[in-house]
Symmetry: C2
């Protein structure tokens, strides 16, 4: 069985960097090490870090000493200040693209703009972004929600880094009706689009497509949907346990891609598994 | 014959103001008085002012003394500086909305933005706007032209005050592809839209529609087009000389509107003329 692995599948730059920072900190073992929220959206990585002593906190209440790693999605400004006040060491693994977007929210807000964050209000990245606004801030995820915005004057817009550009464009377009000045920072990270484009191309030349990543990971689910539109037999799995040999019957070429929080070893396992399946006669 | 005159037809705020400034200056007769370019887009108003001694200049070369009135559309920054250097008195009748847009071009340009002016490159207002940019500046009139813009980083956008909002929206949308920061000032003046909306409403309740204004006036032509779509018999005239009594045969109600540079007395003349036509039996 031939397996083609997407070059852009798996860890994006920010996730790779955060994971590296966390594992390096865990290896040093200099006092207690925590992460505020899971470091990345991968249960496997979080578990490995926990085994190395990195404890996941939902908040830093009662923590007396040690190092707190800030996850790739970032945290709120209030949480950051609290950790400072507690005298804990901060190891900032916030994705630099998210950090940039946080900076824009702060800048816009300090410059008198009402801020519109395009994204999912419940996502930790968006909760972080919102916290950097000093004045009014609105989260909108769709054109319909944007249409409900009140009439404003100066509107500053940033996007959750994983937003689709077309949704971003549509919402900006509606915001033009809402204020006389609209200042837009395109904070969308290319990694998502590049990964999706590559997956689309890959689907065309294979018999079966496997998308690996958390079933609750928004970017992986979207990636699977895109593949499914081209190859209706596409399967989304979290690990090799969920693979079914029957899916590959009659296949000669299989494509594999993965969401932004899927570690390389998980991808490698899946690839090994598929390659090890009984060869099809056509192959 | 019943004649309904559009409330928002004729002089807009900026044109009214410029005309008033020019006539006041002409009445004072304090030395030579010039206007750099026609004060507004109305041959009748320009002729009246000329009869009162206000000479229209294409440039201020060789002018030794006197007052130069800056027309409603504004002039270029270079022309303004030149008049200053010549020691001439400036009477600035630039429409305050155009002035505001000029200020935004300057601000954007000084803040490191490449400036995109949405409008007609040959229009005096746009020529003026462009001149206030210190760095790169592009004029685009359509989405197709916007698509040809190079890849930029920080894009600042303003619009010619008479642009349609939908064209503005479409071009801004395309500019989102061209830079990572897009800062948009909506410098479109409501007067045009309000006048057009009122004309649309008026067309529905009348038998015939007359649009008055220069045949080369872009805003009047657009106004006539809009009326023509609803009332195909709509006529666009510059003055009563072009009216044909046959147009009103069988009509009981006539609507009248006018472009932004059409003086009130021209509208009144047309209304008088129509009212004076032989009454139709239905009326």
């Amino acid at each position: 069985m031939k397996v083609i692995v997407a070059k852009q599948g798996g860890f994006c730059f920010g996730v790779k960097r955060a994971t590296q920072i966390a594992f390096e900190a865990a290896e040093k073992k200099t006092g207690s090490t925590y992460s505020l929220g899971p470091i990345i959206h991968s249960p496997q990585v979080v578990r490995s870090l926990e085994e190395m002593g990195v404890k996941v906190l939902s908040d830093t209440d009662g923590v007396q000493e040690g190092t707190v790693i800030i996850r790739s999605h970032g945290v709120t400004e209030g949480e950051l200040e609290k950790i400072h006040q507690q005298g804990l060491t901060i190891l900032d693994a916030t994705c630099p693209f998210v950090k940039k977007a946080q900076g824009y929210v702060k800048l816009l807000s300090e410059s008198g703009y009402d801020v519109v964050v395009i994204g999912d209000a419940d996502h930790p990245e968006v909760k972080g972004l919102v916290s950097f606004a000093k004045g009014r801030v609105f989260v909108v995820s769709s054109s319909d929600e944007a249409a409900e915005l009140p009439q404003l004057k100066k509107i500053g817009i940033v996007a959750q880094t994983t937003q689709s550009f077309e949704n971003f464009r549509a919402i900006v377009s509606i915001c033009l009706d809402k204020g006389s000045e609209v200042r837009v920072y395109d904070t969308i990270c290319d990694a998502t689009t590049v990964r999706q484009d590559e997956a689309r191309d890959l689907c065309v030349g294979v018999d079966q497509m496997i998308v690996i990543g958390g079933l609750d990971s928004a970017n992986t689910r979207r990636l699977a949907e895109i593949c499914h539109e081209i190859l209706p037999g596409t399967h989304h799995v979290e690990s090799i346990e969920q693979l079914d040999p029957a899916w590959f019957s009659g296949c000669s070429t299989v494509g594999v891609t993965a969401g932004a929080s899927t570690p390389k070893w998980l991808i490698d396992e899946v690839v090994c598994y598929i390659k090890g399946l009984p060869q099809d006669k056509k192959d």
